[in-house]
Structure formats: C-alpha cells, structure tokens
Symmetry: C2
C-alpha cells in the first residue's frame, strides 16, 4: 500500500463514519426534511456515498480485494477520486464500512428472529453456521473484507473492536437463547463472565477459521466443523452421559 509519510490531521479529514446509510437495496432515501440542520451530510451526499460503497462491493464480489481499483470505483459511482477520499480514508475503509452494514443486517435478523431452540451448544453452532453461510455466499467479497481487516492502522483498529463487541453481543444472546438487546451500549456487555469468555473463544475460533477459509485452506464446511469442535469441547462436558 503506497503511503506517503503520515500527514497531520485536518478538520476536513474523512469522518469515522458513525452514520448509517440505509439498506443497500433501498433505492431511495426518504426525502424527510430537505437538509435538516443537524444532519451531518446532505441527502445527495448520502447518495454519493452509497454509490461509492455499492460500486466497491460490486467490484469486490467479482474479483476480491484487488479488483476494487479505486479509479474504477470512482468512475462507476460518478464521483471524482478526490471526492472518494473525502468520504473514506482508504480502500480498506470502504470495505470495512460495507462490512459494518452487513453486521447491521445480521443484528436485525437476530433481533427479529432470535434462536431459542435446543441447547446452548446447538444454538451457538447454528448461529455460526448461519453467519458462515451468509459470508460464504459471496466468497470474493468476504476475502476482500477479511483482507481489509489486516490493514492495521489506528482507524481500522477501532472499527474492528466495535465489530467484535457487536458479534460478542449476538453470541452471548444466542447462548442464553434470548434476543440481543441492540439498545444496550456496547461497552457494557451482557452476560456472565463465563458467558463472555465462551463467546470470546468461539469468536476467536470462528475468525481464525474464516481466515483459513478465505485463504483457501479449507472449504466452508470446515469452518462450521471447527466451531462445532470448539463449542463441543467447551459446552459439552466430557463426563456428560
């Protein structure tokens, strides 16, 4: 990644994206009040941003990380390269933004239809199986997103930390067979210490295995197997009859 010597931060730097863009499929943004004063970005700016993200995702779906050439993204979204960099700090930033949007979808799905059947073990395995399925449906996109996680700059880090907390919340809820409380602040995690530890380990196993899958080391099925193995070791005491 060619990078000049780091630059002093500037008031006009791209934001850290606290802003949701509305579902990707949504063709129209609700008109609402035309340019509310508190709104951080005007409606046409939101539309621009959405075009950028959509173009990047399209390209990533086809050819993975490398296929997302920012000049192409800019062309496809009818935006100048400079503008693109006004919205996003880097290529990775765009892909992580899209990943966050996927997370929104998953959270909504879990809140709407929490898994409540079977044992905690079964629920956990099923949760990760579904999540893996959703990811593996667009392998190139997933690879691109996973690769974007490896950037390692300070900005990426905070986004990953958030993602991790969001997933942990879902896993803990799944272990308990409850719906996740999406309103509760992330820095005040739910669940007992043990539940959090279990969630942590399962997430770690999942992430590692996903990385292996993304690299081509093993097929999707193995990811689920790893989770089953890990969850079995943790949640099914060997002395159980």
């Amino acid at each position: 990644m060619p990078a000049r010597p780091p630059r002093a931060p500037d008031a006009s730097d791209p934001p850290s994206h606290p802003l949701p863009l509305g579902a990707r499929a949504a063709k129209k943004v609700e008109p609402a009040a035309p340019a509310a004063p508190g709104a951080r970005l005007a409606a046409n700016q939101l539309r621009r941003m959405r075009r950028i993200v959509d173009a990047a995702v399209d390209l990533a779906e086809k050819g993975g990380f490398e296929a997302v050439r920012l000049r192409d993204v800019a062309d496809r979204s009818d935006v100048a390269l400079g503008t693109l960099y006004k919205y996003f700090r880097s290529k990775e930033d765009i892909l992580l933004f899209a990943l966050n949007e996927e997370m929104d979808v998953l959270e909504q799905a879990m809140a709407a239809r929490p898994s409540a059947n079977g044992t905690a073990l079964e629920r956990a395995v099923e949760f990760f199986r579904r999540a893996t399925r959703a990811i593996a449906r667009r392998p190139q996109l997933a690879r691109a997103m996973i690769r974007a996680m490896a950037a390692g700059d300070a900005d990426t880090v905070m986004k990953l930390a958030f993602l991790q907390l969001r997933i942990a919340r879902l896993v803990v809820a799944t272990l308990r067979g409850e719906a996740p409380d999406l309103a509760k602040p992330l820095d005040q995690p739910a669940g007992s210490a043990t539940e959090q530890a279990i969630a942590q380990v399962l997430m770690n196993v999942w992430f590692s295995s996903l990385v292996g899958w993304a690299a081509g080391l093993h097929p999707e099925r193995v990811v689920t197997e790893h989770i089953r193995t890990g969850a079995g070791l943790i949640l099914a005491p060997p002395a159980a009859p």
Copy 2:
C-alpha cells in the same frame, strides 16, 4: 498492492523456498564443498538471500510492514531490485520466509527443552505464553509478519498451511508433555483426534488474539489471558473438585 494482470508461470520464477538459510546470526556459511552439484543455490547466492532477508527484517523491526520498502531492502542488501524478485515473489514472501525461520528456532527450542512439568493445561498455557513473549519482543516485526499473512494468494496459503501444521505439532507435543518429533512428516499428525481438536482450538484462539494484539486492540498480557481462558474452558472440566 499494485499488481499487474497475472502472468503465466515461468521456469525462472522464484522458488517456493524449501531451502533453509542457516541461523540469521550466523555470520559465515560453512564453506563445505565449493558449489556442490546438487545444491540449488551457490554459496554466494545463499549469502545474497540472507542479506535480503536480514535487511527486510531490520526494516520491519523498526517501522513494520510499510517500512519495508523494497528499494531500501535492495539497497541495503547490495542487490538489484530485479535480483530480489528473482529470489522472492513479493514483499510478503520475504516476510513469510523470515517467519518460517522464526518457526525453526521455536521448534528447535521445544525439541531441546520440552515442557514436562505440571498439568496439560499448565503446559499449554506456558507454551503459548512463551511463544507470545517471543513474538511481542519485536512488535513491529510481528505486525509486519501478521500483515504479510493476509496477502491471500495461493502461494501464501500453502506456507500458512505448513506453519499451522508445524505449530499444531508443537501444541500436541506440549499437551502430552513430550518432545515434538520433528522428523515425522507433517501430513501425518501425532496425537488423538481429541488432542488435535484441542490444539486446533487453542491455536485459533491464539491467532485471533495475536491479530488483535498486532492491531493494537489489547496488550500482550491479554493474549495470554485469552489462551488461559480458552484452555481453562476446554481442559479444566467445571465439575472438577
């Protein structure tokens, strides 16, 4: 990573590095027979390669992945850029080669002084604690290597698979309190299915947590804690008195 459209493989492509280079600190390569016929590379070629790797590691120690500018590496190792690419396929390739050398060191240490004290749980935690310590001693280098793992091309993949198998061998040996059998081929892993599963899970937890550490999400101590948590959940049945 700027990459032209993929090129057809060529007989003069860089090797997949089955060759060990001798310890990094070794200032001299044993003269031995001057240019043995079977040797894949002449002695001065080995020296060139070593200079390249050393230069890359030096730079990575100071400034991480981005500080390894290949023009600098070429300059410092008194080698033309083109020659560098004759030995290594990419920047990542150099760093992964260095990582493999680190693995050699770890393997030798474990073979020479296997941990045999305490319970399997204690041994496993201690193993990962030491490995984490060794890695965290040079944070920038570690970050660079971890980032190099994310490249995702087919070549990287096989190297990562090998690394994984080598670490798994050490973990299984540690669980058993034995010395690892470095002679045994990697595709014929030691240990029972359960032992392999445990090793797998612990490695996954370790890797994930290392990535988090490398990204700056948490300090070294937390890596060890994650391992302790995971190993505790797996190896210390909750019903134990």
